[in-house]
Symmetry: C2
């Protein structure tokens, strides 16, 4: 699941470059002029695509979790076997973290820099994503496959995945496929009746 | 395991207040004057205890992981039963995260703001702490209690704990004791032969 590159819009290209810059040097340290230079656009052209630096931050932090909610809802509908469903969710999650590692880094560091309803919106999407897993676990419990649902256990299992943005090496020996296999094994053991 | 308060040194008091301020408003947004006001010390008195703002950040990010390494090494020596040992490590970890939640928040957000050898020093301590768990898991494997060691699985299990700084509510219904019981159960199931 690579990021679209050929069909990438100008906005997507700006966001991807900004995410890398913010992840490397910090959101507050990177100015709009520097971002313009990095994407090869003058001030006017840059502001044609984005309204402000916070607008860039909002789009970066929103993007990967929006993708996860879309993929997760689809996975929930398409795979109804409880064990296969959580494995599919785990694979999607790990692959998305690998593709959007810079975006996750920026999100976890800088979400508090978002103002007003934008922060609420990003947190709401995180809540929606967690809710998909919650439904998957409760459905598995109803079907007699998983043990009774526990909200803290789910927080822990999702934390295991999300925390990997910190230690995962891009193009490392352990790719997202290998990692998600190991993590899915932990998830299934933890949920076993 | 509360933070020492009665016997807290002036430096510990400054660091605890700074950690809360940085966690709430961001490291870059808080100036030394504001920190001085918050701790009730003038510039001269404040600089008697700390050399610079980065000095404060370094001490904040170093503190909890230093505590974890100390506690963890002691736990490793004192508890030799593999299952009881990882349960003890898990309890210590969760309690330390609960006590130093502001410090973890600052560390995970701002470690990249540390310059030179200071960042290396904090990362080295994180490596040392992971190594204690690694030894505990490998010892358990040798004693025939745990399955073969897997480094990615350990990263995941530690991530489950560390990530809780994001969602754990201070004084929430689910305290560190309850949370570590649930997480230790996941750990033992994941390590079972």
């Amino acid at each position: 699941m690579p990021k679209p590159t050929m069909q990438q819009t100008q906005l997507e290209r700006i966001l991807a470059i900004a995410a890398k810059l913010f992840a490397e040097r910090g959101y507050h340290a990177v100015g709009m002029t520097e971002l313009g230079d990095a994407v090869g656009l003058g001030r006017g052209a840059l502001y044609h695509h984005i309204k402000s630096k916070e607008d860039v931050l909002y789009n970066i932090t929103r993007q990967y979790i929006f993708v996860l909610v879309e993929l997760g809802n689809k996975a929930f509908e398409e795979e109804t076997d409880p064990k296969l469903r959580v494995q599919l969710l785990g694979r999607q999650l790990m692959e998305t973290i690998a593709v959007y590692q810079a975006e996750l880094t920026v999100c976890f560091r800088e979400i508090y820099s978002l103002t007003g309803s934008r922060k609420e919106e990003v947190l709401k999407l995180h809540g929606e994503y967690e809710h998909i897993w919650r439904r998957a676990l409760i459905d598995g419990e109803k079907k007699g496959v998983f043990r009774p649902f526990n909200a803290v256990r789910l927080k822990g299992l999702l934390g295991m995945f999300f925390y990997s943005y910190i230690w995962m090496k891009p193009n490392g020996a352990q790719g997202p496929e290998t990692i998600s296999k190991i993590f899915n094994d932990v998830v299934l053991k933890a949920l076993e009746k």
